[in-house]
Symmetry: C2
Subunit: 255 residues, 2 copies
Amino acid sequence: MGRTIAVANQKGGVGKTTTAVNLGAYLGALGRTLLIDVDPQANATSSLGFAPDQVGPSVYEMLMESLPLGAVVTETREAGLSLAPASQALASAQVELVQVENREFRLRDALQREPHGFGVVIIDCPPSFGLLTLNALVAADAVLIPVQCEYLAVEGLGQVLEVIEAVREGLNPRLEILGLLLAMHDGRTTLSFQVAEQVRAHFPSGTFRTVIPRSVRLSEAPSHGKSIRAYDARCRGALTYAALAAEVVHRGYGP
Amino acid sequence: MGRTIAVANQKGGVGKTTTAVNLGAYLGALGRTLLIDVDPQANATSSLGFAPDQVGPSVYEMLMESLPLGAVVTETREAGLSLAPASQALASAQVELVQVENREFRLRDALQREPHGFGVVIIDCPPSFGLLTLNALVAADAVLIPVQCEYLAVEGLGQVLEVIEAVREGLNPRLEILGLLLAMHDGRTTLSFQVAEQVRAHFPSGTFRTVIPRSVRLSEAPSHGKSIRAYDARCRGALTYAALAAEVVHRGYGP
Ligand SMILES: Nc1ncnc2c1ncn2[C@@H]1O[C@H](COP(=O)(O)OP(=O)(O)OP(=O)(O)O)[C@@H](O)[C@H]1O
Ligand SMILES: Nc1ncnc2c1ncn2[C@@H]1O[C@H](COP(=O)(O)OP(=O)(O)OP(=O)(O)O)[C@@H](O)[C@H]1O
Ligand SMILES: [Mg+2]
Ligand SMILES: [Mg+2]
């Protein structure tokens, strides 16, 4: 059984989905990879070309009705990458889960119930620390935290680390931080350099060497239902996600 | 009693806080304005120079302990703008509110319990449709929806409108859509123009004429604890928020 990485940060719009999808595509090229979309926005699902209102069984049924993982997983057009899609029903799961037994362990149990044969599992989280993200943090071995190179995104880092520490002490003692990923770095602004310096200074060994630049190609790819690897493999955005995949493998989380 | 505007969109990082703070500052210059921060990230609170971990009574106590609004509101350095700050305790309110009576009406009740004398109230929401955003939508007369000029942000618009419709039918029949605000428009990319065209075509009368450009000055201002009006009133970002304030007043929601 491979390892599981949750991509999480409660700050919105920092590149969680973009990272989960593109890292998933480059790791998929190396070995069987599963992407699980637990965000009710279902952006990872639509970024890979699936219409969230037309998917069959989804992560919702896995969490709420204990549907087995095998009944939810579907192939994508990206080599080696499979998807457990989100559906809009997930929006109600945030509240419905409150009353359910073992509410924080539903995803972990679904992944452990049967051997799934994926070398690595990546979970895309919504921008909040509700029960969906909590399920991902309990199911994960490690957390990858995208940090947008903006002032407001750094402000919230303390909260992210506090929540991870609380999960490690209570629900999932094995949870580690895979790394902080500097994202949407805009080489034209001093703000980006200041933020990058500040994050590296606070977390010297915890920050990936790879920095993802702001690149419009990355924001165009989802409208074609493709990862950047399939959309434009030679652009800067693609090369940096390939480099990130190499660093993730180096840290022992390859497929 | 003035009117209340909720700034909401479950998509993360689309400019909700930037809009709530800067619209608040320009409306404050016209008359007494209150900004309420119901996001546990407390970005609106820190954008105005307050440290979320050092604020006294906050929106949390207002929602959970029925503390009166007057005991929570504080002056800001922006002319005419007062703030009901968020604190990190709000993060637990999302779950605690589930078990509380009248859970969706707590904010509305706090605003109606005593005359507050503000000409307009603006509420900054977190990137989710949990009980905090629901409280804001029930307390509000209208919703302002920032729409980032990106593909993934448009995908989620349908969900936003569905939730607003559901709130209008159930909990708050008077709720209307004040308008969709095109934000972070990057004049260098065709994607921005495509998205703007698509949104205007779908919502001809519902989209503000003002379009907020991507401007690094806007993302610098929060690190100085200032609105764009106080930080750099002559930059493009500032002029467009001033123009937005004029449109909001024209639509009958001025202070
Ligand atoms: N490096 C980049 N360069 C340019 N655009 C980017 C980059 N990374 C992400 N984007 C775009 O920025 C927006 C936000 O990114 P994304 O949706 O991945 O963030 P998120 O953290 O998943 O958001 P949410 O909090 O809503 O889940 C998207 O429109 C995406 O296409
Ligand atoms: N027009 C703009 N030009 C450039 N940067 C902007 C603009 N508007 C917002 N930003 C920056 O983009 C980031 C996201 O904006 P903001 O935090 O206001 O979005 P939000 O919707 O409130 O996010 P969240 O979903 O986390 O609450 C912030 O770092 C902000 O400073
Ligand atoms: Mg996302
Ligand atoms: Mg915000």
